[in-house]
């Protein structure tokens, strides 16, 4: 896997840090009480095959956060965007 950073160009996987699923959205309420929305956001995942949006960090490069669309069945990277 090589990731084409919009700032640095195509770089090896070891320069990047995968962080998490970019398809989940943080609930609007403050989270003072445990709600099903918070449980869903923190713990439950679709975890399907095929394309998935996810956050990566160019930790050994320009330090940009990136949103990758990557096929988790083939590791093919379909797009790299700035969030």
């Amino acid at each position: 896997m090589r990731i084409a950073c919009p700032h640095c160009g195509p770089r090896g996987l070891d320069e990047f840090l995968y962080t998490q699923d970019a398809s989940v959205t943080r609930p609007k309420d403050g989270g003072a009480a445990p709600t099903p929305e918070w449980t869903d956001y923190v713990y439950l995942r679709e975890n399907a095959r095929g394309p998935r949006r996810e956050y990566w960090y160019h930790s050994a490069g320009c330090h940009a956060w990136l949103v990758l669309t990557r096929d988790v069945s083939t590791h093919e990277i379909l797009s790299v965007e700035l969030p």
């Binding site: 896997m1 090896g12 996987l13 070891d14 995968y18 998490q20 699923d21 445990p34 099903p36 449980t39 869903d40 923190v42 713990y43 439950l44 995942r45 679709e46 975890n47 399907a48 095959r49 998935r52 996810e54 990557r70 988790v72 069945s73 083939t74 590791h75």
Partner: protein, 430 residues
Amino acid sequence: MCITLIASQEFFAPMRYSAFSVITQALRGHTGWKPAWRKAEPAPHYDVVIIGGGGGGLATAYYLARHHNVGRIAVLEKGWLGNGSIGRNTTIIRSNYGLPGNIPFYELSMKLWEGLEQDINYNAMVSQRGIFNIYHNDAQRDSYARRGNAMRLHGMEAELLDRAQLRKEFAYLDYENARFPIQGALVQRRAGTARHDAVAWGYARAADKLGVDIIENCEVTGIDIENGIVKGVQTTRGAITAGKVGIAVAGASSLVGAMAGLRLPIESHALQAFVSEGLKPLLDNVITFGAGHFYISQSDKGGLVFGGDIDGYNSYAARGNLPTVEDVCEGGIALMPMIGRARLLRSWGGIMDMTMDGSPIIDKTPVGNLFFNGGWCYGGFKATPASGFCFAHLLAREEPHPVAAAYRLDRFAEGKLIDEKGAGAQPNLH
């Protein structure tokens, strides 16, 4: 007359493996061995259908047939037996956990391993060669001491060795490593290894003997639910109705769960394993490196079998990438420089069902008569016997086995996580 009778009976009845059967087969030129399990055809209905013919599914079927009277049982396997993680792991079995929700479960598993080969009449090459978890600094020593004490409080043995004691066991470790000097190790002597695919074959054979239908090349493609109760499954070999359905598909948990509308606290990740060329006997035990993530043992064929961290990003491709290969090998060399010149023979990957707290799930689901076993992360091989034993108990009695009572599906919503590593809801960090 009598001799032909015995010979013909042996030909048709399931064969018991023994020194005697090996010798008689040797004299007959090994022409009398029979397949270890029948190639069963799917029947239209079963009382219990287990989805997934990995270690967990096969052990579940065996213990169900052995200890519970539940009627007809089938195991539906998408590919061939052993294609999943049961045939891909680094074969380490141990019960050196630190949390109350885990310790009794893994210790039951260890006890079942100890009697497994007699129980199922199959040589699974269970070898209690001991595991040495190396520590490299004071904080790690304290945390290992805590883990060892937790084990002892649960009635298990654990030893904490200092550097001088460890040196007596292994002269060849890199004690003076500039970055990761070795201070000692936590030892569980009853831990060890077992031959992974023999475990699948042994359970399959034993379950088959008790009448379980093991149906290979039968992928479940849908789960039929009516009024919130499971009625059966759709498969690539036709529809099958069932009284109860148990999911035991490990890395495919979310995919099969989604067929029943379940959204699970699981992500699938790739883990790689490595084997070196065959070497003369070198490592008698299982050794783990505490400063990175590296574990190693030597197989009976002489290969060094080792692995490290998962690759770190979600994956359904049963292969990893090169940075992890490099990282694992660096860990190995930092621990025991002597292996630096061994050549790598093979590497492969498998799919891990990583949960949000690093611990498994064995529970009912919100769908009636549908039960779930999964979330094994990269530690489900050692769990195989207890995973099957406890899932069989749950399927038959509809209540959790006491040692698996903490492995609930709702523990995430309830905040009752079992997070050995304290890494939080980040599956790739467990």
